[in-house]
């Protein structure tokens, strides 16, 4: 049986630490992080000894997980592209397996991004969907990630399937930087430009965001390693079955 690598041993730790960090981020997001200011009011009230004369945008709390899961989906797709390119160069099936699992992880995080984004949008904009640049590019990315798996299922020959999927995986991954940079290329008022030096996020808001970000990245790494281990075992199982039949 194949020996466990150091990364396999780290998977549990990554998953646990990731869950702890993201839970801490979640708790801080709802306790210490201040609520974003909404519309100014003509009147004021004292809340917890603080003079408040504006509405409080509670829906912004979705941002503390929405942004990290979206970034994680981009990173997972980046790994799809890396492993797909290595597969196309080396023709080694282990890279096809890694690319497939990275895309699977990307799909999970894409669904999480879509679900959280649509709920925020429904409350803030009153619609479930609108064709603004970030949403449109991310929607194309989502369709391509789903199409990646449809393509894989449609092909029977393993070599042809791996090659076509690798090429398609690279094309799908190209959408990630486009979707990430679209708010810089076509600025809109609706989606903020993230990862900028003048974001002005106070430490009370930055800390939960960073905890969630690192936590979710670690969770993604953990589940990637688990899935890889499971798929490798499955391949070994098939080999063993073949040996027993002989």
């Amino acid at each position: 049986m194949r020996e466990r690598t150091i990364f396999d041993s780290l998977a549990w730790m990554a998953l646990l630490l990731g869950a702890l960090l993201s839970t801490a981020g979640f708790v801080l997001a709802f306790t210490t992080a201040p609520m974003v200011k909404g519309v100014d009011l003509q009147v004021f009230a004292q809340i917890g000894g603080v003079h408040v004369d504006y509405q409080l945008l509670f829906s912004q709390k979705i941002f503390y997980f929405h942004m990290p899961v979206a970034i994680t989906s981009f990173i997972a797709l980046l790994f799809t592209a890396i492993y797909s390119i290595i597969f196309l160069v080396k023709k080694d099936p282990k890279y096809d397996l890694r690319a497939r699992i990275a895309t699977e992880i990307a799909l999970v995080f894409v669904l999480m991004t879509m679900a959280s984004g649509m709920l925020w949008e429904r409350y803030e904009w009153g619609v479930w969907w609108t064709w603004e640049p970030r949403l449109t590019t991310y929607f194309i990315l989502t369709l391509m990630v789903i199409a990646y798996f449809i393509l894989r299922r449609a092909l029977d020959d393993p070599e042809r399937r791996a090659t076509y999927a690798a090429v398609f995986g690279v094309i799908a991954a190209v959408n990630a930087p486009i979707s990430f940079l679209i708010t810089r290329i076509i600025p809109t008022r609706t989606h903020p430009v993230i990862f900028r030096t003048d974001s002005g996020l106070p430490p009370d808001m930055l800390l939960p965001l960073l905890l969630s970000m690192f936590g979710i990245l670690m969770v993604a790494f953990g589940i990637y390693r688990f899935r890889l281990r499971e798929q490798r075992l499955r391949l070994q199982l098939e080999d063993l079955k073949a040996q027993l039949e002989d």
């Binding site: 959280s116 709920l119 199982l237 063993l240 027993l244």
Partner: protein, 61 residues
């Protein structure tokens, strides 16, 4: 509720169900995937152990 506080909290109370559902959905999607993966891993490990044993017995016999 005090009318001023009511106006301030208007967006909080209205947004609360959406925030709760958003977090619940995100965790649920992740949890379902992790559970499917863990069950699948356990099942494969079990089958692997049984087949390895079977192979060992055959080689012995």
């Amino acid at each position: 509720m005090d009318p001023i506080l009511s106006e301030i909290y208007q967006t909080v109370l209205g947004a609360a169900p959406y925030v709760i559902i958003a977090y619940a959905l995100m965790w649920m999607i992740l949890l379902v995937y992790v559970l499917i993966m863990v069950f699948s891993l356990k099942k494969t490990e079990k089958q692997m152990a049984a087949l390895t044993e079977e192979l060992r017995l055959r080689q012995k016999g």
